[in-house]
Amino acid sequence: MAATAAVLKSEWTKIRSVRSTVWTLSLAAVITIGLGLLISLLANNEFRKMPLQERLTFDPTYISFAGMGIGQLLMIVFGVLVVSNEYSTGMIRSSLAAVPQRGQFLFGKITIATLLALVVGEITSFIAFFVGQAMLGSHRTQISNPGVLRAVVGGGLYMALIAMFAMGCAAMLRSPLLSLSILMPFFFLISNILGSVSATKKVARYLPDQAGQKIMMVVTRNDGRPYGPWVGLLIMAAWVAAALLGGYALLKKRDA
Protein backbone atom coordinates (compact mmCIF):
# COMPACT_ATOMS: atom_id res chain seq x y z
CA MET A 1 0.00 0.00 0.00
CA ALA A 2 2.75 2.37 1.00
CA ALA A 3 4.73 1.23 -2.00
CA THR A 4 1.80 1.95 -4.30
CA ALA A 5 1.40 5.43 -2.84
CA ALA A 6 5.10 6.05 -3.39
CA VAL A 7 4.84 5.00 -7.03
CA LEU A 8 1.80 7.23 -7.57
CA LYS A 9 3.63 10.17 -6.05
CA SER A 10 6.62 9.51 -8.25
CA GLU A 11 4.49 9.25 -11.38
CA TRP A 12 2.78 12.50 -10.51
CA THR A 13 6.17 14.20 -10.31
CA LYS A 14 7.07 12.71 -13.68
CA ILE A 15 3.91 13.85 -15.40
CA ARG A 16 3.97 17.39 -14.10
CA SER A 17 7.64 17.94 -14.87
CA VAL A 18 7.55 17.61 -18.65
CA ARG A 19 6.09 20.11 -21.07
CA SER A 20 4.28 17.64 -23.32
CA THR A 21 1.71 17.07 -20.56
CA VAL A 22 0.77 20.74 -20.48
CA TRP A 23 0.61 21.31 -24.21
CA THR A 24 -1.25 18.13 -25.15
CA LEU A 25 -3.89 18.56 -22.46
CA SER A 26 -4.38 22.27 -22.97
CA LEU A 27 -4.62 21.83 -26.74
CA ALA A 28 -7.13 19.04 -26.22
CA ALA A 29 -9.26 21.38 -24.13
CA VAL A 30 -8.91 24.40 -26.41
CA ILE A 31 -9.65 22.47 -29.60
CA THR A 32 -12.61 20.60 -28.16
CA ILE A 33 -14.16 23.76 -26.75
CA GLY A 34 -13.25 26.00 -29.69
CA LEU A 35 -14.46 23.70 -32.45
CA GLY A 36 -17.62 22.93 -30.46
CA LEU A 37 -18.26 26.65 -30.20
CA LEU A 38 -17.77 27.24 -33.93
CA ILE A 39 -19.88 24.32 -35.04
CA SER A 40 -22.67 25.16 -32.58
CA LEU A 41 -22.67 28.71 -33.92
CA LEU A 42 -22.81 27.43 -37.47
CA ALA A 43 -25.60 24.99 -36.66
CA ASN A 44 -27.66 27.76 -35.10
CA ASN A 45 -27.22 30.02 -38.14
CA GLU A 46 -27.90 27.28 -40.67
CA PHE A 47 -30.64 25.53 -38.74
CA ARG A 48 -33.43 26.56 -41.05
CA LYS A 49 -31.54 25.31 -44.12
CA MET A 50 -31.10 21.84 -42.64
CA PRO A 51 -33.17 18.96 -44.05
CA LEU A 52 -36.27 18.14 -42.03
CA GLN A 53 -34.87 14.79 -40.94
CA GLU A 54 -31.83 16.45 -39.38
CA ARG A 55 -33.90 19.12 -37.72
CA LEU A 56 -36.07 16.48 -36.11
CA THR A 57 -33.11 14.56 -34.73
CA PHE A 58 -31.10 17.66 -33.85
CA ASP A 59 -29.10 16.99 -30.70
CA PRO A 60 -27.95 20.28 -29.16
CA THR A 61 -25.89 18.46 -26.52
CA TYR A 62 -24.01 16.33 -29.00
CA ILE A 63 -23.41 19.26 -31.35
CA SER A 64 -21.59 21.15 -28.59
CA PHE A 65 -19.17 18.19 -28.46
CA ALA A 66 -18.43 18.44 -32.17
CA GLY A 67 -14.85 19.40 -31.33
CA MET A 68 -14.31 16.07 -29.62
CA GLY A 69 -13.38 14.35 -32.89
CA ILE A 70 -10.18 16.41 -33.13
CA GLY A 71 -9.80 17.02 -29.41
CA GLN A 72 -9.61 13.28 -28.77
CA LEU A 73 -6.55 13.13 -31.03
CA LEU A 74 -4.70 15.35 -28.57
CA MET A 75 -5.84 13.11 -25.74
CA ILE A 76 -4.36 10.23 -27.71
CA VAL A 77 -1.07 12.13 -28.12
CA PHE A 78 -1.07 12.72 -24.36
CA GLY A 79 -1.66 9.05 -23.61
CA VAL A 80 0.93 7.87 -26.10
CA LEU A 81 3.62 10.28 -24.90
CA VAL A 82 3.12 9.53 -21.22
CA VAL A 83 3.96 5.88 -21.81
CA SER A 84 6.20 5.78 -24.87
CA ASN A 85 8.48 8.61 -23.73
CA GLU A 86 9.77 6.19 -21.13
CA TYR A 87 11.05 4.02 -23.97
CA SER A 88 12.17 6.66 -26.45
CA THR A 89 14.26 8.47 -23.84
CA GLY A 90 15.68 5.45 -22.00
CA MET A 91 13.95 6.59 -18.80
CA ILE A 92 12.31 3.15 -18.62
CA ARG A 93 15.59 1.69 -17.36
CA SER A 94 15.74 4.16 -14.48
CA SER A 95 12.05 3.65 -13.80
CA LEU A 96 12.19 -0.14 -13.68
CA ALA A 97 15.41 -0.15 -11.70
CA ALA A 98 13.57 1.98 -9.13
CA VAL A 99 10.30 0.05 -9.33
CA PRO A 100 11.05 -3.48 -10.56
CA GLN A 101 7.47 -4.59 -9.89
CA ARG A 102 6.45 -3.88 -13.46
CA GLY A 103 2.72 -4.05 -12.95
CA GLN A 104 2.93 -1.56 -10.12
CA PHE A 105 4.99 0.75 -12.31
CA LEU A 106 2.70 0.55 -15.35
CA PHE A 107 -0.60 0.78 -13.51
CA GLY A 108 0.73 3.51 -11.24
CA LYS A 109 1.62 5.56 -14.28
CA ILE A 110 -1.68 4.85 -16.01
CA THR A 111 -3.68 5.70 -12.87
CA ILE A 112 -2.05 9.09 -12.52
CA ALA A 113 -2.27 9.92 -16.22
CA THR A 114 -5.90 8.80 -16.35
CA LEU A 115 -6.90 10.85 -13.32
CA LEU A 116 -5.32 13.89 -14.89
CA ALA A 117 -6.99 13.19 -18.24
CA LEU A 118 -10.31 12.72 -16.43
CA VAL A 119 -10.08 16.05 -14.63
CA VAL A 120 -9.13 17.88 -17.83
CA GLY A 121 -11.75 15.90 -19.76
CA GLU A 122 -14.58 16.78 -17.37
CA ILE A 123 -13.67 20.45 -17.25
CA THR A 124 -13.42 20.50 -21.04
CA SER A 125 -16.70 18.68 -21.45
CA PHE A 126 -18.63 21.03 -19.15
CA ILE A 127 -17.14 24.16 -20.71
CA ALA A 128 -17.77 22.82 -24.23
CA PHE A 129 -21.37 22.12 -23.32
CA PHE A 130 -22.14 25.52 -21.81
CA VAL A 131 -20.25 27.45 -24.48
CA GLY A 132 -21.98 25.41 -27.18
CA GLN A 133 -25.43 26.02 -25.68
CA ALA A 134 -24.72 29.73 -25.50
CA MET A 135 -24.14 29.69 -29.27
CA LEU A 136 -27.25 27.67 -30.05
CA GLY A 137 -29.79 30.37 -29.18
CA SER A 138 -33.30 29.05 -29.28
CA HIS A 139 -32.14 25.53 -30.13
CA ARG A 140 -30.28 25.09 -26.92
CA THR A 141 -30.97 22.49 -24.27
CA GLN A 142 -30.65 22.58 -20.49
CA ILE A 143 -28.32 20.57 -18.25
CA SER A 144 -31.42 19.59 -16.26
CA ASN A 145 -33.14 17.98 -19.27
CA PRO A 146 -33.28 14.17 -19.28
CA GLY A 147 -30.00 12.57 -20.27
CA VAL A 148 -28.07 15.82 -20.69
CA LEU A 149 -26.03 15.72 -17.49
CA ARG A 150 -25.17 12.09 -18.21
CA ALA A 151 -23.95 13.12 -21.68
CA VAL A 152 -21.81 15.95 -20.33
CA VAL A 153 -20.22 13.87 -17.59
CA GLY A 154 -19.86 11.12 -20.21
CA GLY A 155 -17.89 13.49 -22.45
CA GLY A 156 -15.18 13.73 -19.80
CA LEU A 157 -15.24 9.98 -19.25
CA TYR A 158 -14.86 9.45 -22.97
CA MET A 159 -11.77 11.65 -23.11
CA ALA A 160 -10.17 9.83 -20.20
CA LEU A 161 -10.95 6.44 -21.73
CA ILE A 162 -9.54 7.33 -25.12
CA ALA A 163 -6.33 8.50 -23.42
CA MET A 164 -6.21 5.22 -21.51
CA PHE A 165 -6.67 3.25 -24.68
CA ALA A 166 -3.73 5.14 -26.17
CA MET A 167 -1.63 4.34 -23.09
CA GLY A 168 -2.35 0.64 -23.44
CA CYS A 169 -1.48 0.67 -27.14
CA ALA A 170 1.71 2.63 -26.47
CA ALA A 171 2.70 0.13 -23.77
CA MET A 172 2.41 -2.58 -26.40
CA LEU A 173 4.10 -0.70 -29.24
CA ARG A 174 6.68 1.29 -27.20
CA SER A 175 7.66 3.62 -30.04
CA PRO A 176 5.86 6.98 -29.92
CA LEU A 177 6.06 7.36 -33.69
CA LEU A 178 4.66 3.92 -34.38
CA SER A 179 1.89 4.36 -31.82
CA LEU A 180 0.85 7.73 -33.19
CA SER A 181 1.02 6.65 -36.80
CA ILE A 182 -1.40 3.84 -36.05
CA LEU A 183 -3.76 5.55 -33.62
CA MET A 184 -4.12 8.98 -35.24
CA PRO A 185 -5.23 7.84 -38.70
CA PHE A 186 -7.38 5.16 -37.13
CA PHE A 187 -9.41 7.51 -34.98
CA PHE A 188 -9.34 10.42 -37.40
CA LEU A 189 -10.21 8.58 -40.61
CA ILE A 190 -10.46 4.84 -40.61
CA SER A 191 -13.05 4.49 -37.88
CA ASN A 192 -15.24 7.12 -39.57
CA ILE A 193 -14.87 5.49 -42.96
CA LEU A 194 -15.74 2.08 -41.57
CA GLY A 195 -18.71 3.69 -39.87
CA SER A 196 -20.13 5.15 -43.10
CA VAL A 197 -19.49 2.30 -45.52
CA SER A 198 -22.59 0.09 -45.46
CA ALA A 199 -20.60 -3.14 -45.56
CA THR A 200 -18.72 -2.37 -42.35
CA LYS A 201 -21.19 -0.07 -40.63
CA LYS A 202 -22.62 -2.66 -38.31
CA VAL A 203 -19.23 -3.83 -37.09
CA ALA A 204 -17.78 -0.33 -36.82
CA ARG A 205 -20.39 0.51 -34.16
CA TYR A 206 -18.41 -1.69 -31.81
CA LEU A 207 -15.13 0.15 -32.32
CA PRO A 208 -13.98 1.90 -29.13
CA ASP A 209 -14.64 5.46 -30.26
CA GLN A 210 -18.00 4.83 -31.91
CA ALA A 211 -19.28 2.81 -28.98
CA GLY A 212 -17.97 5.31 -26.46
CA GLN A 213 -19.44 8.35 -28.21
CA LYS A 214 -22.95 7.08 -27.57
CA ILE A 215 -22.65 8.37 -24.00
CA MET A 216 -22.55 11.96 -25.32
CA MET A 217 -25.75 11.67 -27.33
CA VAL A 218 -29.13 12.64 -25.97
CA VAL A 219 -31.32 12.40 -29.07
CA THR A 220 -30.58 8.94 -30.36
CA ARG A 221 -33.34 8.21 -32.80
CA ASN A 222 -31.85 6.62 -35.94
CA ASP A 223 -28.31 6.61 -34.61
CA GLY A 224 -28.21 2.92 -35.54
CA ARG A 225 -26.50 1.75 -32.38
CA PRO A 226 -28.21 -1.26 -30.85
CA TYR A 227 -27.05 -0.43 -27.32
CA GLY A 228 -27.62 2.28 -24.73
CA PRO A 229 -25.15 4.98 -23.58
CA TRP A 230 -23.73 3.07 -20.64
CA VAL A 231 -23.41 -0.17 -22.54
CA GLY A 232 -21.63 1.81 -25.26
CA LEU A 233 -19.21 3.15 -22.68
CA LEU A 234 -18.75 -0.34 -21.34
CA ILE A 235 -17.85 -1.60 -24.81
CA MET A 236 -15.23 1.12 -25.00
CA ALA A 237 -13.99 0.21 -21.52
CA ALA A 238 -13.61 -3.39 -22.66
CA TRP A 239 -11.35 -2.22 -25.47
CA VAL A 240 -9.35 -0.18 -22.98
CA ALA A 241 -9.01 -3.14 -20.64
CA ALA A 242 -7.82 -5.32 -23.51
CA ALA A 243 -5.20 -2.73 -24.55
CA LEU A 244 -3.97 -2.34 -20.96
CA LEU A 245 -3.75 -6.07 -20.37
CA GLY A 246 -1.87 -6.46 -23.64
CA GLY A 247 0.52 -3.71 -22.61
CA TYR A 248 1.03 -5.27 -19.20
CA ALA A 249 1.58 -8.77 -20.59
CA LEU A 250 4.24 -7.49 -22.98
CA LEU A 251 5.95 -5.27 -20.40
CA LYS A 252 6.11 -8.22 -18.04
CA LYS A 253 8.10 -10.45 -20.36
CA ARG A 254 10.12 -7.97 -22.41
CA ASP A 255 13.61 -6.67 -21.81
CA ALA A 256 13.66 -3.01 -20.87
Partner: protein, 323 residues
Protein backbone atom coordinates in the same frame (compact mmCIF):
# COMPACT_ATOMS: atom_id res chain seq x y z
CA UNK B 1 26.77 -9.43 -2.41
CA UNK B 2 25.76 -10.26 -5.97
CA UNK B 3 25.72 -13.88 -7.01
CA UNK B 4 25.51 -15.07 -10.60
CA UNK B 5 24.72 -18.69 -11.24
CA UNK B 6 25.16 -19.92 -14.82
CA UNK B 7 23.63 -16.67 -15.98
CA UNK B 8 22.84 -16.84 -19.68
CA UNK B 9 21.26 -14.48 -22.17
CA UNK B 10 20.44 -15.11 -25.80
CA UNK B 11 19.30 -12.46 -28.26
CA UNK B 12 17.85 -14.62 -31.01
CA UNK B 13 20.76 -16.80 -32.14
CA UNK B 14 23.31 -14.55 -30.52
CA UNK B 15 24.64 -15.74 -27.18
CA UNK B 16 25.46 -12.51 -25.35
CA UNK B 17 26.10 -14.01 -21.92
CA UNK B 18 27.08 -17.65 -21.58
CA UNK B 19 26.77 -19.48 -18.25
CA UNK B 20 28.44 -16.81 -16.15
CA UNK B 21 29.06 -17.84 -12.59
CA UNK B 22 30.81 -15.52 -10.17
CA UNK B 23 30.23 -13.55 -7.02
CA UNK B 24 30.72 -9.84 -6.50
CA UNK B 25 32.18 -9.63 -3.03
CA UNK B 26 31.17 -6.94 -0.59
CA UNK B 27 33.32 -4.01 0.43
CA UNK B 28 35.74 -3.91 -2.48
CA UNK B 29 35.96 -2.58 -6.03
CA UNK B 30 35.52 -5.38 -8.53
CA UNK B 31 36.48 -4.62 -12.09
CA UNK B 32 34.35 -6.24 -14.78
CA UNK B 33 36.52 -6.40 -17.80
CA UNK B 34 35.95 -7.49 -21.36
CA UNK B 35 36.30 -6.26 -24.91
CA UNK B 36 33.40 -4.47 -26.58
CA UNK B 37 30.52 -6.84 -27.14
CA UNK B 38 31.69 -9.25 -24.44
CA UNK B 39 28.35 -9.03 -22.65
CA UNK B 40 29.16 -6.69 -19.77
CA UNK B 41 26.22 -4.34 -20.21
CA UNK B 42 23.82 -7.23 -20.77
CA UNK B 43 25.05 -8.87 -17.56
CA UNK B 44 24.57 -5.66 -15.62
CA UNK B 45 21.08 -5.14 -17.03
CA UNK B 46 20.20 -8.66 -15.87
CA UNK B 47 21.55 -7.87 -12.40
CA UNK B 48 19.05 -5.01 -12.29
CA UNK B 49 16.17 -7.12 -13.56
CA UNK B 50 15.94 -5.02 -16.72
CA UNK B 51 16.82 -7.85 -19.10
CA UNK B 52 15.35 -11.20 -18.24
CA UNK B 53 17.85 -14.09 -18.26
CA UNK B 54 17.38 -16.85 -20.82
CA UNK B 55 18.70 -19.26 -18.20
CA UNK B 56 20.50 -19.15 -14.89
CA UNK B 57 20.04 -16.81 -12.03
CA UNK B 58 21.33 -13.63 -10.45
CA UNK B 59 20.60 -12.57 -6.88
CA UNK B 60 21.30 -9.50 -4.81
CA UNK B 61 21.79 -10.37 -1.15
CA UNK B 62 20.04 -13.63 -1.89
CA UNK B 63 17.03 -12.02 -3.55
CA UNK B 64 15.98 -11.49 -7.12
CA UNK B 65 16.09 -7.83 -8.00
CA UNK B 66 12.34 -7.80 -8.69
CA UNK B 67 11.69 -8.94 -5.12
CA UNK B 68 13.58 -6.04 -3.59
CA UNK B 69 11.43 -3.36 -1.97
CA UNK B 70 12.85 0.12 -2.50
CA UNK B 71 15.80 -1.33 -4.44
CA UNK B 72 17.58 2.01 -4.78
CA UNK B 73 18.42 1.78 -1.09
CA UNK B 74 20.31 -1.49 -1.68
CA UNK B 75 21.89 -0.99 -5.05
CA UNK B 76 22.51 2.02 -7.27
CA UNK B 77 23.48 1.82 -10.91
CA UNK B 78 24.95 3.98 -13.61
CA UNK B 79 23.97 2.35 -16.88
CA UNK B 80 25.75 2.62 -20.18
CA UNK B 81 22.99 4.30 -22.13
CA UNK B 82 21.44 7.45 -20.77
CA UNK B 83 18.31 6.75 -18.80
CA UNK B 84 16.40 9.97 -18.31
CA UNK B 85 13.92 12.22 -20.09
CA UNK B 86 15.77 15.15 -21.70
CA UNK B 87 12.77 17.41 -21.16
CA UNK B 88 12.80 16.95 -17.39
CA UNK B 89 15.12 18.83 -15.08
CA UNK B 90 17.86 17.02 -13.20
CA UNK B 91 16.07 17.88 -9.97
CA UNK B 92 12.75 16.39 -11.04
CA UNK B 93 14.43 13.34 -12.53
CA UNK B 94 16.03 12.58 -9.19
CA UNK B 95 12.94 13.58 -7.24
CA UNK B 96 10.67 11.13 -9.04
CA UNK B 97 13.18 8.33 -8.47
CA UNK B 98 13.54 9.29 -4.81
CA UNK B 99 9.77 9.36 -4.27
CA UNK B 100 9.28 5.93 -5.79
CA UNK B 101 11.65 4.48 -3.16
CA UNK B 102 10.45 6.71 -0.30
CA UNK B 103 13.78 8.48 -0.11
CA UNK B 104 13.29 11.88 1.57
CA UNK B 105 13.33 14.80 -0.88
CA UNK B 106 16.24 16.67 0.80
CA UNK B 107 18.46 13.78 -0.27
CA UNK B 108 18.01 14.97 -3.88
CA UNK B 109 19.73 18.25 -3.03
CA UNK B 110 22.51 16.36 -1.29
CA UNK B 111 23.36 14.13 -4.24
CA UNK B 112 23.11 17.04 -6.66
CA UNK B 113 25.65 18.77 -4.49
CA UNK B 114 27.88 15.70 -4.31
CA UNK B 115 28.11 15.45 -8.09
CA UNK B 116 28.31 19.20 -8.59
CA UNK B 117 25.10 19.73 -10.53
CA UNK B 118 23.36 22.07 -8.09
CA UNK B 119 23.69 25.12 -10.33
CA UNK B 120 21.97 23.38 -13.27
CA UNK B 121 19.53 21.32 -11.22
CA UNK B 122 16.48 23.16 -12.50
CA UNK B 123 17.53 23.11 -16.14
CA UNK B 124 16.20 20.54 -18.54
CA UNK B 125 18.79 17.85 -19.10
CA UNK B 126 18.51 18.26 -22.88
CA UNK B 127 21.54 20.55 -22.97
CA UNK B 128 23.74 18.46 -20.68
CA UNK B 129 27.20 17.46 -21.86
CA UNK B 130 28.35 13.87 -21.67
CA UNK B 131 30.18 14.61 -18.43
CA UNK B 132 27.14 16.26 -16.86
CA UNK B 133 25.07 13.27 -17.95
CA UNK B 134 27.46 10.90 -16.20
CA UNK B 135 27.24 13.04 -13.09
CA UNK B 136 23.46 12.89 -13.21
CA UNK B 137 23.63 9.12 -13.62
CA UNK B 138 25.91 8.87 -10.62
CA UNK B 139 23.66 11.13 -8.59
CA UNK B 140 20.79 8.74 -9.33
CA UNK B 141 22.94 5.79 -8.28
CA UNK B 142 23.85 7.46 -4.98
CA UNK B 143 20.29 8.58 -4.23
CA UNK B 144 19.35 5.74 -1.90
CA UNK B 145 22.75 5.69 -0.19
CA UNK B 146 23.14 2.06 -1.32
CA UNK B 147 25.82 -0.35 -0.12
CA UNK B 148 26.26 -1.71 -3.64
CA UNK B 149 27.04 0.34 -6.73
CA UNK B 150 27.17 -0.72 -10.37
CA UNK B 151 28.90 1.44 -12.94
CA UNK B 152 28.84 0.47 -16.60
CA UNK B 153 31.78 2.01 -18.47
CA UNK B 154 31.61 5.18 -16.37
CA UNK B 155 34.52 6.96 -18.03
CA UNK B 156 33.56 6.24 -21.63
CA UNK B 157 33.83 9.36 -23.76
CA UNK B 158 34.75 11.65 -20.89
CA UNK B 159 37.47 14.27 -20.92
CA UNK B 160 40.48 13.81 -18.61
CA UNK B 161 38.95 15.98 -15.93
CA UNK B 162 35.75 13.93 -15.95
CA UNK B 163 37.70 10.67 -15.86
CA UNK B 164 39.69 11.91 -12.91
CA UNK B 165 36.54 12.93 -11.09
CA UNK B 166 34.86 9.55 -11.61
CA UNK B 167 37.94 7.62 -10.52
CA UNK B 168 38.13 9.58 -7.30
CA UNK B 169 34.42 9.11 -6.75
CA UNK B 170 34.75 5.35 -7.06
CA UNK B 171 37.76 5.24 -4.77
CA UNK B 172 35.90 7.33 -2.23
CA UNK B 173 32.90 5.01 -2.34
CA UNK B 174 35.10 1.97 -1.86
CA UNK B 175 36.90 3.66 1.02
CA UNK B 176 33.51 4.00 2.70
CA UNK B 177 33.29 0.22 2.57
CA UNK B 178 30.80 -0.01 -0.26
CA UNK B 179 30.73 -2.73 -2.87
CA UNK B 180 31.60 -1.30 -6.25
CA UNK B 181 31.21 -3.27 -9.46
CA UNK B 182 32.55 -1.36 -12.42
CA UNK B 183 32.84 -2.43 -16.03
CA UNK B 184 35.37 -1.35 -18.58
CA UNK B 185 36.93 -2.51 -21.81
CA UNK B 186 40.24 -0.93 -20.74
CA UNK B 187 42.59 -2.74 -18.40
CA UNK B 188 44.42 0.46 -17.58
CA UNK B 189 41.23 1.83 -16.07
CA UNK B 190 40.84 -1.20 -13.82
CA UNK B 191 44.45 -1.22 -12.72
CA UNK B 192 43.86 2.14 -11.09
CA UNK B 193 40.74 1.28 -9.16
CA UNK B 194 39.94 -2.41 -8.86
CA UNK B 195 41.01 -4.85 -6.18
CA UNK B 196 39.37 -7.80 -7.83
CA UNK B 197 38.92 -8.66 -11.48
CA UNK B 198 36.30 -10.54 -13.41
CA UNK B 199 37.21 -10.90 -17.07
CA UNK B 200 34.77 -12.08 -19.71
CA UNK B 201 34.98 -12.61 -23.47
CA UNK B 202 32.07 -13.49 -25.75
CA UNK B 203 29.87 -13.87 -22.72
CA UNK B 204 32.11 -16.45 -21.04
CA UNK B 205 34.11 -16.16 -17.87
CA UNK B 206 37.84 -15.95 -18.58
CA UNK B 207 39.21 -14.98 -15.20
CA UNK B 208 37.98 -14.31 -11.68
CA UNK B 209 41.00 -13.28 -9.68
CA UNK B 210 42.41 -10.64 -7.39
CA UNK B 211 44.18 -7.77 -9.07
CA UNK B 212 47.46 -8.59 -7.32
CA UNK B 213 47.33 -12.16 -8.53
CA UNK B 214 46.50 -11.04 -12.03
CA UNK B 215 49.49 -8.71 -12.05
CA UNK B 216 51.81 -11.36 -10.64
CA UNK B 217 50.74 -13.88 -13.23
CA UNK B 218 50.57 -11.65 -16.20
CA UNK B 219 52.96 -8.77 -15.88
CA UNK B 220 56.19 -9.82 -17.57
CA UNK B 221 59.12 -7.71 -16.43
CA UNK B 222 62.26 -7.29 -18.51
CA UNK B 223 65.14 -4.91 -19.07
CA UNK B 224 65.50 -2.93 -22.24
CA UNK B 225 69.02 -2.31 -23.50
CA UNK B 226 70.04 -0.10 -26.37
CA UNK B 227 73.58 0.02 -27.66
CA UNK B 228 75.49 1.13 -30.78
CA UNK B 229 77.49 -2.12 -30.47
CA UNK B 230 74.84 -4.83 -30.80
CA UNK B 231 77.24 -7.56 -31.86
CA UNK B 232 79.52 -7.04 -28.86
CA UNK B 233 76.57 -6.98 -26.47
CA UNK B 234 75.10 -10.12 -27.93
CA UNK B 235 78.43 -11.93 -27.47
CA UNK B 236 78.86 -10.67 -23.92
CA UNK B 237 75.37 -11.80 -22.95
CA UNK B 238 75.82 -15.10 -24.67
CA UNK B 239 79.03 -15.80 -22.77
CA UNK B 240 77.19 -15.43 -19.47
CA UNK B 241 74.23 -17.51 -20.58
CA UNK B 242 71.74 -14.65 -20.66
CA UNK B 243 69.25 -14.68 -23.52
CA UNK B 244 68.31 -11.43 -25.19
CA UNK B 245 65.51 -10.87 -27.64
CA UNK B 246 65.83 -8.23 -30.30
CA UNK B 247 62.80 -6.01 -30.26
CA UNK B 248 61.46 -4.44 -33.41
CA UNK B 249 63.04 -1.02 -32.78
CA UNK B 250 66.59 -2.35 -32.56
CA UNK B 251 66.77 -2.62 -28.77
CA UNK B 252 67.28 -5.81 -26.79
CA UNK B 253 64.87 -7.18 -24.22
CA UNK B 254 66.25 -9.33 -21.42
CA UNK B 255 63.98 -11.07 -18.98
CA UNK B 256 66.34 -13.29 -17.02
CA UNK B 257 68.74 -10.69 -15.59
CA UNK B 258 68.43 -7.49 -13.62
CA UNK B 259 69.50 -4.06 -14.79
CA UNK B 260 72.44 -3.76 -12.35
CA UNK B 261 73.85 -7.06 -13.49
CA UNK B 262 73.55 -6.07 -17.13
CA UNK B 263 75.16 -2.67 -16.55
CA UNK B 264 78.12 -4.26 -14.83
CA UNK B 265 78.46 -6.80 -17.61
CA UNK B 266 78.50 -4.02 -20.23
CA UNK B 267 81.14 -2.06 -18.28
CA UNK B 268 83.30 -5.14 -18.00
CA UNK B 269 83.24 -5.56 -21.78
CA UNK B 270 83.56 -1.79 -22.37
CA UNK B 271 80.29 -1.66 -24.29
CA UNK B 272 78.60 1.71 -24.70
CA UNK B 273 74.97 1.72 -23.58
CA UNK B 274 72.38 4.25 -24.74
CA UNK B 275 69.60 2.80 -22.68
CA UNK B 276 69.28 0.44 -19.75
CA UNK B 277 65.81 0.42 -18.35
CA UNK B 278 63.69 -2.02 -16.35
CA UNK B 279 60.28 -2.49 -17.99
CA UNK B 280 56.98 -3.88 -16.92
CA UNK B 281 54.81 -5.32 -19.69
CA UNK B 282 51.55 -3.51 -19.37
CA UNK B 283 48.48 -5.13 -17.91
CA UNK B 284 46.76 -3.94 -21.03
CA UNK B 285 48.86 -6.43 -22.98
CA UNK B 286 48.08 -9.19 -20.51
CA UNK B 287 44.40 -8.43 -20.86
CA UNK B 288 44.68 -8.39 -24.64
CA UNK B 289 46.37 -11.78 -24.59
CA UNK B 290 43.69 -13.15 -22.33
CA UNK B 291 40.79 -11.98 -24.43
CA UNK B 292 42.30 -12.04 -27.90
CA UNK B 293 40.68 -15.33 -28.83
CA UNK B 294 37.30 -14.05 -27.95
CA UNK B 295 37.45 -10.57 -29.39
CA UNK B 296 34.41 -10.21 -31.52
CA UNK B 297 35.46 -7.60 -34.00
CA UNK B 298 39.08 -7.94 -34.98
CA UNK B 299 40.57 -4.84 -36.53
CA UNK B 300 41.16 -5.54 -40.18
CA UNK B 301 43.49 -2.65 -40.78
CA UNK B 302 46.50 -4.69 -41.74
CA UNK B 303 47.51 -5.22 -38.14
CA UNK B 304 50.49 -7.57 -37.85
CA UNK B 305 49.97 -11.00 -36.36
CA UNK B 306 51.71 -11.51 -32.99
CA UNK B 307 55.47 -11.07 -33.31
CA UNK B 308 57.76 -14.05 -33.26
CA UNK B 309 59.22 -14.90 -29.91
CA UNK B 310 56.26 -13.58 -28.00
CA UNK B 311 53.85 -16.04 -26.53
CA UNK B 312 50.93 -16.72 -28.84
CA UNK B 313 47.67 -14.93 -28.08
CA UNK B 314 45.97 -16.52 -25.15
CA UNK B 315 48.91 -18.78 -24.37
CA UNK B 316 50.04 -16.72 -21.42
CA UNK B 317 46.73 -17.09 -19.74
CA UNK B 318 46.53 -20.81 -20.30
CA UNK B 319 49.97 -21.23 -18.78
CA UNK B 320 49.20 -19.22 -15.71
CA UNK B 321 45.88 -20.98 -15.38
CA UNK B 322 47.65 -24.31 -15.37
CA UNK B 323 50.19 -23.02 -12.87
Amino acid sequence: MIELQALTKHFGDKVAVDHLTFTVRPGIVTGFLGPNGAGKSTTMRMMLGLDLPTAGDVRINGKHYADLREPLTYIGALLEAKAWHPGRSAYHHLLCLAQSNRIPAPRVREVLDTVGLTSVAKKRTKGFSLGMGQRLGIAAALLGDPRVLLFDEPVNGLDPEGIHWIRNMMKGLAAQGRTVFVSSHLMSEMALTAEHLVVIGQGRLLADTSMAEFIAQNARSFVRIRTPQPEALRDALHSTGITAMASSDGAFEVSDARAAQLGELAAEHRIVLHELSPQQASLEEAFMRLTAETVEYHAHDGEEPPAEGRPAWGEGWKQSEGA
